[in-house]
């Protein structure tokens, strides 16, 4: 178990190091987030639609698209010089390889989310900090399961034709349950309702995460074995 964790961390660190050195995906995700927020600001009539009504959708549209940008990156780097073969030959289990990729993706998305929320507070003047702890929990729960599926699919699509296009097509249905739940909880949180009111949604999110993290871990070897 400890070995598994260590290998997971090594893979994740390698990916993150690579990303922090080039910063291409991260930078494009940040710029993309800022752009979407600006577009939303001008795409609504502030006298007719109060910010607080639109806020949850704005946030989650931004997050899910930014996450998509990050997911495409995950296995792209391994294509060059057959780096993936090297990883597969390394004496580590497939599980730690997958979890490493998953962890790196989660860190990537978390960074984008932090910047996104800060910009969101700045641009839209929504007091997110009043509910920061439950909001953090919702973000984490909504992101984990979806990114797990995304990581699994990105391992496949990089080796297909039109890779960049494939991922959104495959992922859209999988985005729906966490997105609906996250938006529903965020609406309540921003309206000042306690988190306990959204117990059903939280259970759904937790169930989704549990089901898909274990399922994708189980299925991952089938996508890389020769």
């Amino acid at each position: 178990m400890r070995e598994l964790m260590r290998h997971t961390w090594l893979i994740a660190r390698k990916d993150l190091q690579l990303e922090f050195r080039s910063r291409t995906a991260l930078a494009s995700a940040f710029v993309f987030t800022a752009l979407v927020l600006v577009i939303f600001e001008y795409g609504r009539d502030p006298t007719a639609v109060p910010t607080i009504d639109l806020a949850p959708s704005i946030l989650w549209v931004t997050f899910s698209f930014a996450a998509m940008l990050g997911l495409n990156r995950a296995f792209q780097a391994e294509l060059e010089n057959q780096a993936l073969d090297g990883l597969l030959l390394a004496p580590i289990s497939r599980t730690s390889l997958f979890w490493g990729k998953l962890t790196a993706n989660l860190v990537f998305v978390a960074l984008v989310q932090v910047v996104g929320v800060l910009l969101f507070i700045l641009f839209f003047n929504v007091p997110v900090w009043r509910v920061w702890l439950p909001f953090l929990l919702v973000c984490a729960l909504a992101t984990i399961g979806f990114i797990a599926v995304g990581t699994l699919f990105s391992a496949m699509v990089v080796r297909t034709r039109f890779a960049e296009l494939m991922l959104p097509v495959l992922l859209l249905p999988f985005l729906l349950p966490p997105l609906i739940a996250a938006v529903a909880i965020t609406v309540k949180l921003f309206a000042g309702r306690p988190l306990s009111e959204s117990a059903g949604w939280l259970r759904l999110l937790a169930g989704y995460d549990l089901a898909f993290v274990s399922l994708t871990t189980l299925l991952f070897p089938a996508t890389v074995t020769e």
Binding site: R161, L170, P173, L219
Partner: protein
């Protein structure tokens, strides 16, 4: 007789039976009081939805078995079932709005079942786009199986999430048509139609499977 021929005969038989079901639906089943003749489309719409669900269920099941047994026939069956499922999904998604426009006053609404079936359609599309994008047959089979299994697990979650969403935020119009209290004549017609659509599914899949067998994997 080859598999394709048998499939063709089953399909022809099912289509004739479908015509019979419609004679029964139009002539011998009572007209619904509130919906009038628009309700007749239900004998097409509901069984098509059933066949689409059946297709996805069997795609998922075949995918699981494929990853365990590595039998290429299972993959070919999953591919056939997904393609036929897409057709039934199209039937369901076109007959639905046709009925909804006069009855609900709108083509589309984000009701639980509607959203679920739309996502099912997207799943089928994604599954097939992926199949088309991989050249190596062995790789394609494994990738498709992974997506098939994920799709099967996803459906209950979509249903649950959309259901929760709508019960928490009730809509002004009651969208669910009352199904339970069906007069016996209507029920028999509907059940017959279910049978016919299942037969159609079998016929279509047999033919599609046979084509896959003849011309390599595609």
């Amino acid at each position: 007789m080859t598999l394709a021929q048998r499939g063709r005969w089953i399909t022809i038989g099912a289509l004739l039976l479908l015509a019979g079901v419609y004679v029964r639906a139009l002539r011998f089943s009572p007209v619904e009081v509130h919906q009038g003749l628009a309700q007749k489309i239900f004998y097409l719409h509901v069984p098509a939805a059933w066949s689409a669900m059946l297709s996805m269920g069997l795609v998922g099941l075949a995918s699981i078995l494929f990853l365990i047994m590595k039998d290429r026939r299972l993959d070919r069956f999953a591919a056939a079932s997904a393609e036929v499922g897409t057709v039934f999904c199209c039937v369901m998604l076109t007959t639905g709005p046709l009925w909804a426009r006069p009855i609900w006053g709108t083509w589309w609404t984000w009701d639980a079942r509607l959203t679920l079936t739309l996502m099912l359609f997207f799943l089928f599309i994604g599954y097939q786009v992926l199949r088309g994008a991989v050249n190596d047959p062995a790789l394609r089979a494994r990738y498709a199986a992974v997506v098939g299994i994920c799709g099967l697990i996803l459906l209950p979650f979509i249903h649950l999430s959309v259901y929760l969403f709508r019960t928490l935020h009730p809509q002004p119009i009651v969208l669910k048509p009352s199904a339970p209290s069906l007069p016996p004549e209507m029920l028999v017609t509907l059940l017959l139609s279910f049978g016919v659509f299942t037969l159609l599914y079998v016929g279509f899949v047999m033919q599609r499977y046979a084509i896959g067998e003849g011309g390599g994997n595609e």
